[in-house]
């Protein structure tokens, strides 16, 4: 059985940084996946990411990214794109994040070949529990990219007949009332 992790990364209390967990929860609510696929809201892991890389055959992560692109732009990064960066000087346990975790897993010789980061350019990282409009609008595309990767990997999934409640417990009432395309 192939083990695949679909992980949403980010802090749900810091505006658009929460898009990763939000997308992961939408995916879990709408789709059923083949055995061996785990969909998880990972929060803001640091070195714990090493474990995820070492225990899965493929890893798909959804996270906010910081680039020159317009807010809401969805960008894809594969393993070599991530690995070409230098690791950070480890000032605190948050510093060794994605790049360091992947480089560490690679050192131990156990990093999966299939790593995809679905990045969404954020607009605001202020301490609020809402997503900005452009980021919210980009979530459908992010979901499509995750499903596209599963297709590429030959991993099966199907839409639930009755979608579950996504459990976005942190969002304000106002945001929850905004209908999401389902």
């Amino acid at each position: 059985m192939r083990k695949v992790l679909i992980g949403g990364i980010g802090n749900v209390l810091l505006g658009d940084d929460g898009v990763g967990p939000y997308v992961a929860r939408l995916l879990a609510a709408r789709y059923e996946f083949a055995a061996g696929v785990e969909v998880a809201d990972l929060g803001t892991p640091a070195l714990d990411l090493i474990d995820h890389f070492t225990t899965n055959d493929a890893v798909i992560l959804i996270d906010s990214v910081n680039t020159e692109a317009d807010p809401g732009t969805v960008l894809l990064y594969r393993k070599p794109d991530i690995m070409r960066h230098s690791p950070a000087v480890r000032m605190d346990p948050h510093s060794p994040a994605l790049v360091d975790a992947l480089l560490s897993a690679e050192l131990f010789g156990v990093a999966p070949a299939d790593v995809l980061l679905v990045g969404i350019k954020g607009e605001s990282y202020e301490p609020v529990c809402d997503l900005s409009k452009p980021v919210k609008a980009s979530m459908e595309q992010a979901i499509a990219e995750v499903l596209g990767e599963l297709d590429r990997l030959g991993v099966e999934y199907r839409r639930r007949q009755n979608p579950a409640e996504p459990g976005i417990w942190w969002a304000t009432a106002e945001q929850m009332e905004t209908p999401l395309a389902t």
Partner: protein, 566 residues
Amino acid sequence: MANRITIDPITRIEGHLRIDVEVNNNAVSDAWASCTMWRGIENILKGRDPRDAWLFTQRFCGVCTTVHAMASVRSVEDALKLEIPLNAQYIRNLILIAHALHDHIVHFYQLSALDWVDILEIPKADPVATAKLAESLSPWTRNSKTEFKAAQDRVKAVAASGQLGIFMNGYWGHPAMRLSPEVNLLAFTHYMQALEYQRKALQVVGILGGKTPHIQNLTVGGVSNAIDLDSTSALDMDKLETIRVLLTEVVQFVNQVYFIDVCAVAALYPDWFKIGKGVNNYLAVPDLPLDSAGSFYDLPGGYIVNGNIGSVHPFKTASDKDFRDGVSEDVAHAYYHGDKPLHPYKGVTDPDFTGWDGDKKYSWVKAPRFNGAPMQVGPLAQVLIGYAQGHPLTRKYAGLAIETIGSVGHIQVTPGMLESTLGRHGARAIRAAMLAELAQKHLQLLIDNVGKGDYAVHNPPVFDSHESEGVGTHEAPRGTLSHWIVVKDGKIKNYQAVVPSTWNASPRDASGAHGPYEASLLHTPLARPEEPLEVLRTVHSFDPCMACACHTFDPSGRQIAKVKVL
């Protein structure tokens, strides 16, 4: 003329900890610690249901998730004067211990060992000699020539590829690195093994908490674990046995590997017992309650002023009146409005960003003070406060550490030497050994209590319209954590978290007194100021964590620290 050095890792949108030091004649003459990110997450909690607060506080930080959840439910319970069932205390204690063991192992191996271990010396090591050395230090069965050879081959492959990968930014070959190739190989091999054992500790958190990194079993008034020794869907004998097996392995790693490695590294860098002392006021809260009301604890708390261990002031409870009344936060040098120190119940978080100015405001971290003074928190504070009170478990492992360091390094070690950069690592290892013993004790307490037929896990909270205040504390891996809540009409009126790294990374206060990181860096000698390894050693010894995790990936490649020499 003085040089100014800035270490500023640009790993997130706003970065985290930034350290500035002024260097005169190759020694630090002044220092500034700052957090480069806005800390206003508490404002999100105002107006919400206090029973939900822990779900939000658990997201303050991606590394210390459980600790903020625990302090939050404890704050509401303190406000309501609500006791919790014994089983709930034991289950919470086990989660806290397992999380702390995970955290201490990760801190030493992943976040600070490479400050002392030179990766590029490893290819020169003799695996047979390494195995012989290891055997003289510890009965650890994985100290084999085969494991050392395999680890060395990995490093050789990385070095031969010319792509240093994860080791790219290390200060290899730095004159302050002084271990033999064999000791470097020994420590690096354990660095790789440590990953397996920290994972086992986290599995314990997952079994009891339902999930990691965000546990799901807390509730104001207790826990939501169903206990039924015969039901596989509840906490049953099988799960308790799994926990016992996992803990046994983690405990063995702590005692035979982590504890020994810290003692060995300390013995081989004895001059670092004289560096990094800094603020010698120490603060710790009692933790691991042994009864429903929280009147007896397995970890003692209190405070010490001016390093005067002989006159330690103990705290009787985790929300001791002396602690509650003594805490204030000063914003004279932090980016907030305010003209005097405020108690956390009255705390205001009103930003006033003016840019970094070492003479004025320079940090997003407030300056917490206890009875008006800066305090050092963390394992060192806890160990010194326990030692001073004659706490038997603290004395047992502090004694063992002193003996081990002395015999490896052929040096005379005294408890006072713990007040140093290396002493902070030593104290963390002492604390880990204490927690390892307590993990097994609390598991047995839980099993025995359930065995008596007590399955209670929750006392329901009752809110009224009165305004009430509560403090929830936890002696977290990085030190004293306190959440301060004001509840009115069943809603949160005010919420402030005073986190361990706020105490330690504190900026100066109105009187100009340095915070602990800052004070600890003064007079540190630097062999090569442009490669400030010595600064990192001392800062890392505190286990910094800025509790404001924002996790955006920066694909532009700017993920390296900016070490600027001005």
